[in-house]
């Protein structure tokens, strides 16, 4: 296989998108935007997994598809997480009439 793009590039890209996602979680106040940022973080990990699978040779006794299988499962988990997350955001939205995570502060201490 001809390695047109080196593995490093994928890793830098994944690390960059992971950082973007983390920044989004920390800085965005809208709950839906936070949810999107979490998805970006999960997908950054997926890029890593698939890139490592594509460029690495599996060690003895390892199945040929490990990285891709993990990525596929992560996609399903991400879908489940979005479904639950949207449900919870809606539940909070009905109470506060806002999707701003800073407003949800009835408990503290």
């Amino acid at each position: 296989m001809s390695h047109d793009i080196p593995l490093n590039w994928f890793l830098y890209f994944a690390a960059a998108s992971f950082s973007i996602g983390l920044m989004g979680v920390l800085l965005r106040r809208n709950a839906v935007a936070v949810l999107m940022a979490i998805e970006i973080m999960l997908n950054a990990a997926n890029i890593n997994l698939v890139a490592f699978w594509r460029y690495g040779t599996p060690p003895q006794g390892e199945g040929p598809l490990t990285g891709v299988m993990v990525a596929i499962f992560v996609i399903t988990i991400a879908a489940a997480e979005v479904a639950v997350g949207i449900g919870l955001i809606l539940l909070c939205y009905r109470r506060w009439h806002a999707a701003d995570v800073d407003r949800f502060d009835s408990m503290s201490g």
Binding site: L11, A14, F18, G21, L22, V25, A31, V34, I38, M41, L42, A44, A45, N46, N48, L49, A51, F52, G56, T57, P58, P59, Q60, G61, E62, G63, T66, G67, M69, V70, F73, V74, I77, A80, E81, V84, G85, G87, L88, I89, L91, C92, R95, V101, F104, D105, S106, M107, S108, G109
Partner: protein, 591 residues
């Protein structure tokens, strides 16, 4: 090629998964009954019927979880009929099944039993009052989260671990938000969700890096891949990707087990969730995550613990030390300021995570790793039962007062002396007073940490940590005693709590019985937990400890120069200067 490469699935292996399958199916049954037969019934009636049905389900699952243990420790053959699937124990003493994804060893079996018992208590507690209308969904989600926990303790591979971790927490996010008529419950659910899924994402990124570094997701294969790296004793030095992977995975686990500084979600989620759900987050989810944390750190990442047993060398030991000290101290001092019972218990559970990390660290550097890991498993069992009882008190408050203030317990000791005495014993066990089980949990763990066969360089740190733990135990007495003061020294106000009823009294009394029982006879449980800890320690890996040819086909496994070659003996202790031959470090306490 290892055995699994050409192997097909052995359907007899599903015998190991019977408790999980029972719970998963029972969740569906409960859901169907709620949607079908109970349509249009009143909420309390649905709660009663579905609660009893769920209790029956946990009973069936308990039987299914006891059966493998009975068959395994069966000398007479009297229980052989329970092994209906013809599962062969002699063939795989410590098996890893389903293409190395799930383990079917003593650890899995004991923790399956523990989790089903705890689930039964939580279900019982849930029947106390109607905090939600959606009872079918509630019980089904509790069951499915338990399935996630059981598979989490059984996972031997990172993908399985991540999947089950998510199964568990996604169900718990929803359960947290179930008390829809109160503002704090959806809020707690959303907070738990945001923190939890961010931590999952961090963990996953660490996982992807670890996969890239080792080429595998199986714990054993990761250990083998990292082992040669240790050959030159450099550990993680200069390995930026490795450091990132370890840190991210520690952060992920740190969120799940709530250690400082990743604890922010815990007090809010604990306070906002309905009390039975809080109990389940604090016990089930915590002990399952902790077992997974120990498996990953001690087995897969064992070579990265610390290369020369120096604590501050690059390796996860140093990070664990900091997390442990911070959790103990912050958790206890923050709990001092709490007036809300659930919030106080949340901070106390953060502190307990800190104590347990001392044991994990001891297991990471000790020459008696099996004993050290076993003492942590013992502590987890005791912690789980004492906390179930304590959260039943919180459920009592929530049912009758709608709040969780400790002051609402005023005068409980005069009105209900029996139950108040049980609560007294639970609180004393949480403080760590002899002769209750909490004391022996702490004693065994700290004794292992102070064991004189520790490497000299890490001993000082461990002594500091144990000293900090002891000081913290004294601090923790102040806030636990506040509960006792409210119950026994203050006069009842206008309205004392209504009688507890069986749904709340049974968890409190049973938890107390367990705490007293394991306080008076800790040795059987301790020995069981030490046996259970064997497979999670890397040197004593299942292939070598059992003294049989490596079933997973690594004939030429490399042994680092520092470690003596493991012999065929089942006891995997390395010959340290003073390795104790006796399994119990402390004599039986009731003598």
């Amino acid at each position: 090629m290892p055995a699994n490469a050409a192997a097909t699935l052995n359907f007899r292996d599903f015998y190991v998964l019977v408790p999980e399958m029972v719970l998963a199916l029972w969740g569906l049954i409960v859901l169907m009954v709620d949607l079908g037969l109970l349509r249009g019934q009143t909420i309390p009636r649905r709660r009663q019927v579905l609660g009893r049905l769920s209790l029956l389900g946990t009973l069936v699952a308990t039987v299914a979880a006891v059966a493998p243990l009975l068959v395994r420790f069966d000398d007479t053959g009297a229980w052989e009929w329970l092994n209906f699937a013809g599962y062969n124990y002699a063939e795989n003493p410590d098996p890893v099944l389903f293409f190395d994804a799930i383990s079917g060893d003593v650890l899995t079996e004991t923790y399956n039993l523990l989790l089903t018992l705890l689930l039964a208590l939580v279900v019982w507690m849930s029947m106390a009052w109607s905090f939600t209308e959606n009872w079918g969904e509630y019980f089904a989600l509790m069951f499915w989260s338990t399935v996630g926990m059981m598979l989490l303790t059984a996972s031997e591979e990172l993908l399985t671990l991540f999947l089950t971790l998510e199964t568990m927490t996604i169900c718990l996010y929803l359960c947290t938000a179930f008390e829809k008529n109160r503002r704090r419950s959806p809020e707690a659910g959303l907070k738990y969700f945001v923190y939890g899924s961010v931590s999952s994402a961090l963990f996953l990124f660490g996982l992807s890096l670890l996969y890239g570094l080792t080429g595998s997701t199986r714990f054993d294969a990761i250990w083998h891949a990292l082992r040669p790296v240790l050959g030159d004793n450099s550990g993680l030095t200069g390995n930026l990707a490795g450091v990132t992977a370890v840190l991210l995975m520690l952060v992920g686990f740190g969120f799940k087990v709530a250690v400082v500084p990743f604890h922010q979600w815990a007090p809010d989620a604990y306070e906002g969730a309905p009390a039975p759900v809080t109990a389940w987050i604090a016990t089930g989810s915590k002990i399952a995550s902790f077992v997974a944390l120990m498996k990953v750190l001690l087995h897969a990442l064992g070579p990265w613990a610390s290369p020369t047993n120096h604590v501050m060398n690059p390796g996860w030991i140093g990070v664990v030390v900091v997390l442990s000290a911070a959790s103990m101290t912050y958790g206890n001092f923050a709990a001092l300021a709490q007036r809300n019972l659930k919030r106080m218990l949340a901070y106390s559970s953060i502190a307990h995570s800190g104590y347990m990390l001392v044991g994990v660290m001891a297991a990471g550097v000790s020459t008696r790793r099996q004993e050290a890991a076993g003492s942590v498993l013992f502590y987890l069992v005791v912690y789980a039962f004492s906390n179930i009882g304590a959260f039943a008190v919180a459920a009592w408050l929530a049912r009758d007062k709608g709040s969780d203030d400790i002051d609402d317990l005023n005068g409980l000791g005069f009105r209900y002396p029996g139950l108040a005495t049980c609560i007294l014993l639970l609180m004393l066990s949480l403080i760590g007073m002899p002769p209750l089980a909490g004391f022996f949990g702490k004693l065994y763990m700290f004794m292992e940490a102070l064991d004189e066969s520790q490497a000299h360089s890490s001993r000082l740190t461990l002594m500091w940590l144990v000293g900090l733990g002891l000081i913290n135990s004294v601090v923790s007495a102040f806030y636990y005693v506040r509960v006792l003061k409210a119950m026994f020294l203050r006069h009842p106000g206008r309205a004392v709590l209504a009688p507890a009823g069986s749904s709340l009294a049974v968890p409190i009394v049973l938890a107390t019985a367990v705490v007293i029982g394991f306080g008076l006879y800790p040795t059987p449980l301790l020995n069981l937990m030490k046996a259970a800890a064997v497979p999670m320690i890397e040197e004593s890996g299942r292939t070598l400890a059992e003294g049989q040819p490596a079933s997973k086909g690594e004939p030429d496994r490399e042994i680092a120069p520092g470690t003596p070659k493991p012999g065929p003996a089942a006891e995997p202790s390395r010959e340290g200067p003073s390795s104790h031959p006796s399994p119990a470090p402390v004599p039986a306490p009731n003598s």
